[in-house]
């Protein structure tokens, strides 16, 4: 009995349908189907290559190089094969390479199967032979980091391990960057195989760091959660000790305790001593981060919040302990009170504040988490005519990806088969699904709604639109709002300044204060140290900025940094580029006027038919327009383009003349009333073209760049916000004015050459205005850069537009309005926070120093100070989080 290598059926040798020799072995088949399957790809079934994906590299998995076992077989895709002759040419070229034992090329699946001796020849030589024969093999490129490269000799080891992997065309390792670049045939080798090869050489692949993976976000969330729980434990411990210390510090206030622990009684002394130990435990456990932080900062000769808290609680504890142990050094018994309650309760409250802060902070960066969470995890791709589910990181540029209804599109690409509606709201903010047909761009992380389609991946990994968006948002969140610089200067002096104030307070109260002077002086100094809150000051702007930038990203607006955000709220003038910004930037057929008894259908059909042969951009608009109106277009018999005038053609046996007024004059065509109609159309910003059939004027077709649906409303909103709107265009005055009239713009800069746009922006800036420019980011790049804020209208996946300060992913002017709203809301929030933080410190510090005492007898307790300080930083973060609930106003 033998086994059919394809289906696995046990058959008798004699009864087998067919028999085949392969690689010195005989195989038996149960049916013609199995034989054919085997014939298509013998190595797969002959056991030379284990079945399944990602395991065909003996060198890596067994540690034995394949070459040792004899000739090796490689399968290479060959592109450009069209005929049997090509097959022979490739086979001949391959057989001509020394070391190649056998080469067969399969025309049907465009593959070359080559048996070769790896000792004499390598895959690169084979590839070269195919290329020399005039055909291509297509390799994919992968770049990844390798851990543990220490010397130049490692490089050779890794490189040869990689090159020995079937399917790898070339590999180079850079010792400096610890990176490898591998060119490989995705049909033969895959990324896990390459990884395994590096592993077999004794090194580890570090994947190119993704901008941010969901794992990283999870990890961060977990770390936060851990920190939060540890802080809460510290708080409960501090709070439990705190209640006890608070009560026992003032036993004379409580009816029963008053009798048990009278002042200066030994039992109270013991209780207090116990409290001292408990307070020390609280400092060591709940307050350890303050002391560690303070020490670390001191090493750098700097001071921070930790320094202040550590000083405050530490001083209170040391004073109390001295008073407890050596009461004799104090002149009177009222000095010997203890302040362990201050130590414990302040520590506990500040820890609680930190915990609440952490919770609130976690919510601030939710936007980025949402974006990261959008990434698809797997992709279904077609390789070797099979559909495979692979991790999205392994999708290569050029892979064909299959997307079914309801699925997430894994990477960016171009649709090649099928059509569908895609929900792009998560990336562009556009709420309606977008229709996609062959040739359209699809954006990764968007959701396919209705139809199934295939697309070719064009951008993968860190190049996808989403990855760029995430990176831009992260960078922007890390930037600074210009007002922050003032804060930075202040906070540089803040902490040591507070320490100095505390000492001054102590000196003044000790020198001039009422008795018990030392007690008052101590309370004042400790309260001052504790009430000062550098945190609120430091967090005021970053928290709002993070929220604001995130808010923009979720609405399809990418803000590059704090500068843009701050400038955008105070814009006075906005310059809008006409083409592509206010309008679609693509001419379409808008009007068809007929005269002299011609029917519209006839005119459009013939004009469209003729224009099919033309390459003029306006021609395409007429063809599209005629088709869209349901006409089938005949072919022109003859076609003559008259440059600058129009065209002359024969179609369906009739002569047709299509062109401008000049052409009509030259040919002396009587236009009758048509000329007035043409002028009217031109006044509306359209381009009219006369159609003359058989020498008789038949009508006018007009083409125009149409307005985007929401341009008008967006411009009105901008004006309502008090912003001057200016239109800039290279078009002639008449067209420009017509468009401007339609959208309600008064000021028009027409006939501006592209290279003069930046200069015009500058001219407006010289009027003393802060000017924004809205354009397409390519032609308008210099103008965008010149403007105080450059808005680039994005086109699908191209979001990282260098010249812009703000990128609008959805190509609508509404984005400009929204961006200004967001920047205003964010900056308002920033100012609120800054105001709060400054006011808090400006009033808090003097009160803590006892300014109110001479007048009202009010002195702040350190406990209240701790409460206020924790509360102030939580308030700042809460206010920043409030911004997240901001809803875009109806535009």
């Amino acid at each position: 009995m033998v086994k059919d290598p394809v289906c696995g059926m046990e058959i008798e040798e004699g009864k087998a349908y067919a028999r085949r020799e392969h690689g010195g072995q005989t195989f038996y088949f149960c049916s013609p189907k199995c034989e054919a399957t085997f014939a298509a790809d013998p190595p797969k079934y002959a056991g030379e290559r284990p079945r399944g994906h990602g395991q065909h590299i003996p060198s890596a998995t067994t540690g034995v190089r394949e070459g040792v076992a004899g000739p090796r077989r490689v399968e290479m895709p060959v592109f450009g094969l069209t005929c049997d002759k090509c097959v022979q040419a490739v086979e001949k070229a391959l057989r001509g390479v020394p070391g190649v034992k056998k080469a067969t090329v399969n025309l049907a699946n465009a593959r070359a199967f080559i048996d070769y001796d790896p000792a004499t020849v390598g895959v690169p030589a084979l590839e070269r032979a195919i290329r020399d024969a005039g055909y291509r093999t297509e390799g994919a490129k992968a770049r990844f980091g390798i851990e543990g490269i220490t010397c130049a000799s490692c490089v050779t080891t890794i490189e040869s391990a990689l090159r020995d992997t079937p399917g790898v065309l070339n590999a180079s390792v850079n010792v400096g960057t610890e990176e490898a670049v591998v060119e490989y045939l995705p049909s033969v080798a895959d990324f896990p195989a390459i990884k395994a090869a590096v592993g077999s050489a004794g090194y580890k692949v570090v994947e190119a760091p993704a901008p941010a993976s969901p794992d990283a976000a999870d990890k961060e969330a977990r770390a936060r959660e851990r920190e939060y729980r540890s802080l809460m434990r510290k708080w409960w411990f501090g709070a439990a000790v705190g209640v006890f210390t608070m009560i026992m510090s003032y036993p004379w206030l409580f009816p029963v305790l008053r009798d048990w622990f009278p002042r200066e009684s030994p039992q109270l002394w013991y209780i207090w001593a116990g409290m001292g130990v408990a307070a020390l435990a609280v400092l060591a456990y709940s307050g350890n981060q303050f002391f560690i932080g303070a020490c670390q900062a001191l090493k750098h000769r700097s001071a921070n919040m930790h320094t202040l808290i550590a000083l405050g609680t530490g001083v209170a504890w040391i004073y109390s302990t001295i008073a407890l142990l050596f009461p004799q050094i104090f002149p009177a018994s009222e000095f010997t009170e203890v302040y362990y309650d201050v130590t414990v309760v302040v520590t506990a409250l500040v820890v609680l504040g930190l915990a609440m802060e952490l919770r609130a902070k976690g919510r601030t960066s939710e936007a980025i988490k949402k974006l990261i969470g959008l990434q698809a995890k797997t992709a279904r791709i077609i390789r070797e005519e099979k559909e495979l589910d692979i991790p999205v990181e392994e999708v290569l540029v050029g892979d064909v990806v299959v997307v079914r209804p309801g699925e997430k599109i894994p990477v960016d690409g171009e649709l090649i088969e099928g059509s569908s509606a895609v929900d792009e709201s998560m990336v562009t903010g556009e709420s309606l699904p977008v229709e996609k047909k062959v040739g359209d761009e699809v954006i990764g992380a968007t959701i396919n709604k209705t139809g199934a389609f295939k697309f070719r991946a064009t951008k993968v990994g860190k190049d996808t639109a989403l990855a760029n968006i995430i990176r831009m948002v992260q960078d922007a969140q890390g930037s600074k709002v210009p007002v922050q610089r003032i804060v930075d200067v202040v906070s540089g002096y803040f902490t040591p300044g507070v320490a100095i104030l505390a000492i001054l307070g102590f000196m003044i109260w000790y020198t001039f204060g009422p008795e018990p002077r030392i007690a008052f002086a101590l309370i004042v100094a400790v309260t001052t140290l504790i009430i000062a809150c550098p945190c609120a000051l430091g967090m005021a702007t970053p928290m709002s900025l993070t929220t604001g930038v995130g808010l923009g990203a979720l609405n399809g607006i990418l803000i590059r940094g704090g500068d843009a955000l701050q400038t955008a709220q105070q814009l006075q003038t906005i310059i809008l580029d006409k083409t592509g910004t206010i309008t679609h930037g693509k001419p379409v057929l808008t009007d068809a006027v007929v005269t002299g008894g011609f029917r519209e259908e006839e005119v459009l059909r013939l004009a469209g038919g003729v224009e099919k042969s033309s390459e003029h951009p306006l021609a395409a608009a007429i063809v599209e327009g005629a088709k869209a109106r349901g006409h089938s277009l005949p072919d022109a018999e003859t076609f003559d383009a008259i440059p600058g005038h129009g065209i002359e053609a024969r179609i369906e046996g009739r002569t047709l003349l299509l062109g401008n007024l000049k052409l009509m004059r030259d040919r002396k065509i009587p236009l009758d009333g048509l000329e007035a109609k043409a002028t009217a159309l031109a006044d509306n910003g359209k381009t009219p073209m006369y159609v003359v059939i058989d020498g008789r004027p038949a009508g006018i077709v007009a083409v125009a760049d149409t307005l985007k649906e929401d341009s008008k409303e967006a411009i009105r909103s901008l004006k309502d916000m008090g912003v001057e709107v200016v239109m800039i265009t290279g078009d002639n005055e008449r067209t420009a004015k017509a468009i401007a009239r339609q959208v309600g713009i008064e000021r028009v800069l027409a006939e501006v050459l592209p290279q003069d746009k930046a200069f015009n922006v500058q001219k407006l800036q010289l009027e003393g205005k802060s000017v924004a420019m809205v354009g397409d980011g390519i032609n308008d790049a210099p103008a965008l850069a010149q403007a105080d804020v450059g808005f680039a209208i994005g086109t699908g996946t191209d979001v990282a537009i260098a010249a812009s300060d703000i990128t609008l992913i959805k190509g609508s002017l509404r984005g400009v309005v929204l961006a200004i709203h967001i920047s205003r809301a964010t900056m308002r929030n920033v100012y609120q926070n800054l105001f709060g933080a400054f006011i808090y410190n400006i009033f808090g510090l003097p009160i803590a120093l006892g300014v109110l005492y001479p007048f009202f007898g009010i002195l702040l307790s350190p406990l209240l100070a701790a409460l206020a300080m924790s509360f102030s930083s939580v308030t700042v973060i809460t206010n920043a989080n409030r911004l997240k609930r901001w809803k875009p106003p109806a535009i």
Partner: protein, 125 residues
């Protein structure tokens, strides 16, 4: 004025003087980031209550890579910002996070945590 008052005031003034000198009059020379074979001026920076080293000297026009390692859990230092280069990075505890940029103009640039409590300086020559 009694003796104890005078003593307290003198000690207080001395302390203030010490604080001014200690925190504000410090002059750190800084560490020069060495040029590695990769062509980067590379420097490891330990993040623990502050940045060590906190003054880094680099040359203008050559790419800089700062490798931050955060060895504490306090959430204060979980981000590092280089606002002048529009760079920022999350620093997960215990992980080395490289931040790369190209300083073009000589000058002094700050890097700091999100709240500006921990600060460091980059001197570009």
């Amino acid at each position: 004025m009694t003796v104890d008052r005078i003593v307290v005031d003198v000690v207080g003034l001395a302390l203030i003087g010490f604080i001014v000198w200690f925190f504000w009059l410090k002059k750190t020379k800084g560490v020069r980031a060495p040029l590695t074979s990769a062509g980067y001026q590379e420097q490891m920076v330990l993040v623990k209550g502050g940045y060590t080293p906190d003054v880094i000297v680099v040359e203008a026009g050559k790419p800089v890579r700062l490798n931050f390692v955060r060895q504490e859990s306090a959430s204060c230092s979980e981000m590092v910002l280089l606002p002048d280069f529009n760079k920022s990075a999350k620093l997960p505890e215990g992980e080395t996070v490289p931040v790369e940029f190209l300083p073009k103009q000589p000058g002094e640039y700050e890097f700091a945590c999100q709240m500006g409590m921990l600060r460091g300086k980059l001197i570009v020559e």
